[in-house]
């Protein structure tokens, strides 16, 4: 028998979870409901708002042409930048290592809304018009630290002697890295990339400032439509985002448990 746990804890925990999940449940319910006025509980079941979503040029562009594209690019590039940075931090001994690590993780400490404002003013000063690329640049700043953290954790748990063994068997350093270390890092790389995608895909604070009129990201689109009293079409778009992110988090959890086993 484990510790005697106080009973009142369970109802409190359940209540907290109800509050935590309520907004997501409600958004999904509204996207299937017939009322145009954000009515909850809904009085029926319809796919009307999903049809409306796929017919809305603005939302489809934001979802597929901006948010999804920037998210995938941010995931790939952040994984490249972050893996390099993590390798440099873990596998090399040099003066000022801790300071460099703090610098590399600094974007996590900067309030995002202020980073967005700073990037906007910076781009404005250089007269760079807002586009998918300015958004991608900003997203790489906030996504890469997540990759660095997961890959660093993976590298620290890895025995460097494996690489040495490969080299003593005749592999070059580069071969040893690509044939031994990289495959063992696979799960950290994948979860880092997934986190980077999610951070980019759901970011609004940077996108408010640096995604231009031609490249409005999905969260910004939803934000402005809420302000202009939009209809449940945005709930349908939100439901799609919730499902995508839910599936990805499940994948990450699976990977992490697999890594604990092996």
């Amino acid at each position: 028998m484990s510790a005697r746990r106080p009973r009142p804890l369970v109802p409190l925990v359940v209540a907290t979870y109800v509050g935590l999940l309520a907004p997501l449940v409600v958004v999904i319910a509204v996207s299937f409901g017939p009322s145009a006025a954000f009515e909850f509980p809904p009085r029926g079941l319809t796919l009307h708002w999903f049809e409306a979503f796929f017919e809305s040029q603005a939302l489809v562009t934001s979802f597929f042409r901006v948010s999804l594209v920037v998210g995938v690019l941010a995931a790939v590039l952040a994984t490249l930048l972050g893996t390099g940075a993590a390798l440099g931090l873990v596998r090399f001994r040099f003066f000022g290592r801790e300071a460099l690590e703090a610098f590399f993780l600094a974007p996590l400490l900067v309030p995002e809304i202020l980073l967005g404002a700073a990037l906007y003013l910076f781009y404005a000063r250089l007269a760079i018009p807002a586009s998918v690329w300015t958004l991608l640049g900003g997203h790489l700043v906030i996504c890469t630290p997540y990759v660095i953290r997961t890959v660093t954790a993976g590298l620290v748990g890895l025995d460097p002697r494996l690489e040495e063994a490969a080299m003593s068997l005749g592999a070059t350093r580069v071969q040893a890295f690509f044939k031994v270390t990289l495959p063992l890092l696979r799960s950290s790389l994948l979860s880092g990339a997934i986190f980077a995608f999610i951070i980019s895909f759901s970011d609004i604070n940077l996108a408010l400032f640096i995604s231009g009129p031609q490249s409005t990201s999905l969260p910004v689109q939803i934000f402005s439509q809420i302000q202009w009293q939009g209809d449940p079409t945005i709930a349908a778009a939100s439901s799609l985002q919730i499902v995508i992110i839910g599936v990805l988090i499940l994948v990450v959890q699976r990977i992490f448990r697999l890594r604990l086993v092996t």
Binding site: G88, F103, V110, P111, A117, I242
Partner: protein
């Protein structure tokens, strides 16, 4: 030879991201600092004089109220997050692996969904035809206006940021062996005494970093107060947004941004000191 090659490899690995941060983090904030020291002009972007007026302006009643409101809402949010988050963290830390995996999923999933969607959910719940008002209607009561006030903002902020309170506390409780709890209880302590004497003091570092995260995130929030609050009682994040994108008073926005960053920085430093002292006391006893 070998050394030079190693240095080149190291540069090739860390260089790209370091350069990237230099150009898209340090230089932009240096640019903000430069803006904050220049006077505002409605016709020109830039005037060639230096001034501290943008910082002195923060002591005007309007800005003092703005900061006061922001810091107060941050404190309330943090307090509610402790009250709701601590029990949840304890429950998570002490539940079986399967249960813990499920509960963690349910905690992290909402965290990863865009804040704007979660706030949207609260608009639906608290709105005129929302869940609460529908329930009131069932009991024959008139609908009430629940949106666009400070309560709604705090509800939204707590909902968006509570995972940042739960996760660090959970991590620090997990490090406390359950046998310690059992030992205390076998020696005759009741649950409350045991909790007060063992779990609570040992989880202080987690609690502190949770508070710090939630506080610094809440005082720089934008989406939640913009959608759930009323447009007169704003928070600093909204003011920065308006001054950058609506009134184009970039020098003023810059001084606000740097003041907020300085405030967050001071808080971080205090929390770091407090954590150090707590762990030193722990080591001493």
């Amino acid at each position: 030879m070998e050394d030079a090659q190693r240095r080149r490899t190291w540069l090739a690995l860390t260089g790209p991201y370091a350069l990237f941060l230099l150009f898209l983090l340090l230089v932009p904030f240096a640019n903000v600092a430069v803006y904050s020291l220049h006077p505002y002009s409605p016709t020109k972007v830039f005037l060639p004089e230096l001034t501290f007026a943008n910082y002195l302006k923060i002591f005007d009643v309007y800005y003092l109220r703005l900061f006061g409101r922001t810091l107060r809402l941050g404190l309330i949010t943090m307090a509610v997050c402790i009250v709701l988050g601590y029990p949840l963290a304890y429950f998570l830390a002490r539940s079986r692996p399967r249960m813990q995996a499920l509960c963690l999923f349910l905690l992290i999933m909402p965290l990863m969904v865009s804040a704007v969607i979660r706030v949207f959910g609260w608009i639906v719940i608290l709105g005129r035809k929302g869940l609460v008002n529908q329930a009131l209607l069932v009991f024959g009561l008139d609908p009430v206006r629940l949106l666009y006030n400070e309560t709604a903002v705090v509800i939204g902020l707590v909902n968006v940021f509570i995972p940042f309170m739960v996760l660090p506390i959970m991590a620090s409780i997990e490090r406390i062996p359950p046998s310690l709890e059992e030992a205390a209880q076998n020696l005759g302590a009741n649950w409350a005494q045991m909790f007060r004497r063992t779990i609570l003091p040992l989880s202080v570092p987690g609690l502190l970093s949770g508070c710090l995260l939630v506080y610094s995130l809440s005082i720089s929030a934008f989406v939640t107060p913009a959608l759930l609050g009323n447009s007169r009682d704003r928070m600093v994040g909204q003011q920065v947004y308006d001054e950058v994108l609506v009134s184009f008073n970039w020098p003023s926005a810059s001084s606000l941004a740097l003041t907020l960053i300085a405030l967050t920085g001071v808080l971080m430093f205090c929390a770091l000191l407090a954590t150090r002292r707590a762990s030193r006391r722990e080591a001493a006893s």
